[in-house]
């Protein structure tokens, strides 16, 4: 029963926290750039405004265009429910390991790209084409990072990886460092952050994710935006959870350790979000054809992470 409550809590937590984290990134970014910036709660107001607006739908679009925001958002939300945030032992967690999480995010991406093509405009196709290019390198990179994690810990299940790291079975490993680097690079790409994509731009030449959403308005746009925010939360939780799992509440924990876990999760997420904001300010966006270098690098790092494991073993 308590496990079910925990699961329910997580389902609501990721949803409630996601806009705040995005708002926090924007705020920190503004401060680092010397601006005052909007309140971190501004995304909630934006979402509410969009929800109440009348959605417009293009003349030529099919049912897929209207279904895509719901499918995209549900897929990302479902994925976020399965990643350990403040506690492990969630009843739904065995439904998907890291491979399945990658694939659930791919579901969201494919539906968004299809919606971009369904809008019947040049920008929709442009966004879809570039997004699939990014995905075709980012996905294998994340799977290779998963591979090396599974070689180190013997499992692809995030919860069990966390248990393994907490049990102290792992020291500082070159492989883990490489896998972390690969995962961070993938996270940057998947969440559409600089240097791959700029969430704040609507400049035609550089748009990727925004280009697919151009024709959306009202609640459809709100869902798509919220899906992006939940995706960011998911990656922050995943990186913070797997590589720094300290503080996370164990299965069937009492209220105190749950509270500690909650605090640790918030601290980690906000710290990572701040780091993201600083990183985004410090770096320039890449040209489209440089993506392949960046993400191909991530893929090679993931591959090296697996191979280094045996090199270090043999030496």
């Amino acid at each position: 029963m308590s496990a079910l409550l925990l699961q329910l809590g997580q389902i609501l937590l990721v949803l409630a926290l996601a806009p705040l984290l995005t708002g926090w990134v924007r705020l920190v970014k503004a401060r680092v750039q010397g601006r005052i910036g909007p309140s971190p709660f501004q995304p909630y107001r934006d979402l509410r405004r969009l929800m109440l607006k009348e959605p417009l739908v293009g003349d030529s679009t099919s049912w897929l265009f209207r279904a895509a925001p719901y499918v995209t958002f549900s897929a990302v939300w479902l994925a976020a429910c399965l990643v350990p945030t403040f506690a492990v032992g969630l009843p739904l967690a065995p439904a998907a390991d890291l491979i399945a999480l990658v694939a659930l995010l791919a579901v969201a991406r494919v539906w968004t790209a299809l919606a971009g093509l369904d809008s019947g405009t040049a920008f929709g196709g442009l966004g879809a084409s570039r997004e699939m290019l990014i995905a075709s390198l980012a996905e294998p990179a994340m799977l290779m990072a998963t591979f090396s994690l599974s070689l180190v810990s013997g499992t692809t299940q995030p919860e069990r990886i966390i248990a393994f790291v907490l049990s102290g079975g792992v020291g500082i490993e070159v492989s883990l460092g490489l896998a972390l680097a690969a995962l961070v690079m993938v996270a940057v790409a998947e969440c559409g952050r600089i240097p791959i994509d700029n969430p704040a731009t609507h400049l035609e030449l550089t748009m990727v994710h925004e280009a697919m959403l151009l024709e959306y308005s009202g609640r459809h746009l709100a869902l798509m935006e919220l899906a992006g925010m939940v995706r960011l939360t998911l990656f922050l939780a995943l990186i913070g959870g797997v590589f720094a799992p300290w503080g996370i509440a164990p299965a069937e924990a009492g209220p105190l350790s749950l509270l500690i876990g909650f605090g640790a999760f918030l601290a980690k997420s906000f710290a990572l979000a701040s780091a993201l904001a600083v990183f985004e300010t410090a770096i320039a966006k890449m040209r489209v054809f440089r993506y392949a270098d960046f993400l191909g690098g991530a893929l090679l790092l993931g591959l090296l992470a697996t191979i280094f494991l045996y090199v270090s073993e043999a030496v």
């Binding site: 549900s74 659930l104 290019l133 591959l303």
Partner: protein, 671 residues
């Protein structure tokens, strides 16, 4: 008995098809007969697969003297009978409605039952002679349908390449069986199984790879698939791509896992390398195709490559003494075989429906079809999502299983596996991600957006016939079902792999039914069932909540497109298939295909538009086949001179041969 009776009906249907002539009703009747027979065979195969029991065997009293035709239905044959006859039933049922669109139906309907007969007979054969005869039956019947529309030059060329490759493949298989049969000429499988020795493997494995691999479409023997599969009428393309390649994989499994007792891990590694090359090469080709059916054929190369990775891994695990992991890899490969048979057949049938409605196969002439052909569009959407290996559909489960097996690959002792398996895993992951890109492009360009031609704009005027709709709907439902209940499927497959892998496939007991969590693997788990249920619940909540805010109904308006003026938003402004794949072409194609893009700019002030042209080089065709063909032609030219010798010349030749032979005999006697 039932099976024999059903098979005996097929030649009768072929004769009926020959006699049908101009009567469309008779053609439909033949298709209906094929569908019924396939259903009967499907039920018989599934009954044996689920019911278990000893494999029924029979020796038919004709064929070679002293040998006869041995037939036997074990669990592997039964599984492949399901894989073959389920899509076959759908494709035959589809043909009832499609008959009026068949370009040369008098050259197709007589051979459809023969094709089905050949494929089922391969699965039932229990001796090499029966097997090879059935194999040739299958090849020739499909070849006749490839060249049915023989007035098109490209179809004739495709038929020629296909015939050469088919003959080459059969020759290799004949060699493999001959080695297994040994000097005593024991052609039946039971004797081969008992007698298989380690020495024979070194000869059998490469021959089996060449023979079955050329039929299945493993690189670099895949070149005939993208030529021959699109040339046949769509239901036949579906059968060739979705089903016949599976029969070839059956031959591979039968030879390497069953008849040859133990294959050294090196051959597993070879199979994995070939498989990963096929996967990446196939999907890269598919990503840049404009012809929808050719795209699907290249995607078959990719999927066969994925299966080959699983099979190779299973061989390596089996040799390494890890039966549980071998079973995991083999179940993954067989699961993918079942999945590919459903969604590839579905996609080819959808391509046929599109072609029937628009007369168009090029992506650049399609668009907006989901609105105009809702049934076909929805079924094709499910097929595309499944082939892009997205959960909760079936394609994902098999890739998940193969990846789980790959993640345990480095536990094998050989260093080549420790370092090689991660590379293969990266190739598999890359091909899966590229397949998603490929099918977003194929589906999005063909079915979404606005029509790019008049034919596509008028596609909905004649509704798709009911038989075509229902067979596509049935296959789409199967894609959903096979993905939603993965554990039930793996339980069935587990019974098949026990004798082949040396152990059963088990899911860990502490999680129970809907959780797929293979024992001995990485302790990862997946549950399509739970994802479907929770995902649907979340989806329902989202829909209800989003509409409960009191938000107004959605209104239709012209697309905004960053402020494009009204009336200028033409379909031509949409992304074309070429422009969609341009980033990938530039990133991957510049090395793989030596792609060169040239832009022709008109003189300043001149009227003609600038043009972008792309030149691609197919490394396999230009690097391997063209020199090969050139060498064959050159040798043929030289040998041709033999035809115009004088009598004196021929006598001299015979005398020289005689002397040479005598010298050989003398030399052998001396030593």
């Amino acid at each position: 008995m039932l099976i024999a009776l059903a098979l005996a009906v097929l030649p009768v249907l072929a004769v009926l098809g020959l006699a049908a002539g101009r009567f469309e009703g008779t053609h439909r009747l033949v298709a209906l007969g094929c569908a019924v027979v396939s259903l009967v065979l499907l039920v018989a195969g599934a009954g044996h697969l689920l019911g278990g029991g000893p494999p029924p065997a029979m020796v038919l009293p004709f064929g070679l003297p002293g040998l006869g035709f041995h037939v036997r239905l074990d669990s592997l044959s039964a599984l492949f009978m399901v894989v073959v006859d389920l899509p076959a039933a759908a494709a035959a049922f589809y043909t009832i409605g499609y008959a009026s669109h068949l370009p040369e139906r008098r050259r197709v309907t007589p051979f459809l039952p023969l094709f089905l007969f050949g494929m089922n007979a391969v699965l039932l054969a229990d001796d090499a002679i029966t097997f090879l005869m059935a194999w040739e039956f299958m090849s020739l019947a499909s070849w006749l349908m490839v060249v049915s529309d023989h007035r098109l030059e490209e179809n004739r060329a495709a038929g020629q390449v296909y015939l050469m490759m088919a003959l080459f493949g059969t020759l290799c298989l004949l060699g493999a069986f001959a080695v297994l049969a040994g000097p005593a000429g024991a052609w039946d499988f039971a004797t081969m199984r008992a007698a298989a020795s380690g020495a024979a493997v070194a000869a059998v494995a490469p021959l089996a790879l060449l023979g079955a691999g050329s039929k299945a479409g493993l690189a670099p023997l895949h070149v005939w698939l993208p030529l021959a599969h699109p040339a046949a009428p769509s239901p036949v393309s579906a059968l060739m791509s979705g089903v016949m390649t599976k029969v070839a994989l059956y031959a591979l499994v039968r030879l390497l896992f069953d008849l040859v007792g133990r294959v050294p891990w090196e051959w597993g590694a070879v199979l994995m390398v070939i498989g990963s090359l096929s996967a990446v090469l196939g999907v890269m080709h598919a990503l840049i195709q404009d012809d929808l059916k050719r795209l699907l054929a290249y995607s078959t190369v990719e999927n066969i490559g994925i299966v080959a990775i699983g099979l190779g891994l299973a061989l390596a695990f089996k040799d390494g003494g890890e039966p549980a992991l071998a079973a995991l890899a083999l179940v993954g490969a067989l699961y993918h075989i079942v999945n590919h048979a459903t969604f590839k057949t579905l996609l080819f049938l959808a391509a046929g429906a599109v072609q029937a409605a628009t007369g168009e196969r090029r992506l650049s002439g399609l668009g907006g079809l989901l609105k105009r052909m809702p049934w076909t569009g929805t079924a094709a959407l499910i097929g595309s999502l499944a082939i892009a290996s997205l959960p909760p559909l079936n394609g994902f489960v098999s890739e998940w299983l193969i990846l789980q097996a790959l993640f345990k690959g480095p536990s094998l002792p050989p260093w080549a596996m420790k370092f090689g398996v991660p590379v293969v895993a990266a190739m598999l992951a890359l091909s899966a991600a590229l397949a998603a890109a490929c099918f977003v492009r194929a589906y999005g360009i063909a079915f979404l957006g606005r029509p790019r031609s008049l034919a596509a704009a008028q596609a909905g005027q004649h509704p798709t016939p009911a038989t075509m709709r229902w067979s596509m709907a049935a296959l789409a439902f199967l894609c959903l079902l096979l993905g939603a209940i993965p554990v039930t499927v793996t339980d069935v497959l587990s019974a098949v792999v026990v004798p082949l892998a040396g152990g059963p496939f088990q899911v860990s007991a502490d999680l129970g039914w809907p959780w797929l969590s293979p024992v001995g693997a990485t302790r990862g788990s997946y549950s399509g069932t739970v994802l479907v249920l929770v995902g649907l619940a979340l989806f329902a909540i989202v829909v209800v909540v989003a509409h409960a805010f009191g938000a107004p109904r959605a209104r239709r308006a012209e697309a905004w497109d960053c402020g494009c003026p009204e009336g200028l938003l033409l379909p031509e402004t949409q992304y074309t298939p070429q422009s969609f794949s341009q980033p990938q072409r530039r990133v991957f194609g510049s090395t793989l295909f030596a792609a060169v893009e040239t832009i022709e700019m008109p003189e300043p002030g001149a009227r003609p538009p600038a043009r972008l042209s792309v030149r691609l080089i197919d490394p396999v065709w230009d690097g391997l086949y063209r020199p090969l063909f050139r060498a064959v032609a050159a040798i043929a030219d030289r040998v041709n001179r033999l035809q115009s010798f004088t009598v004196r010349g021929y006598l001299l030749l015979m005398f020289a041969t005689l002397v040479l032979m005598l010298l050989v005999v003398a030399w052998r006697q001396r030593s």
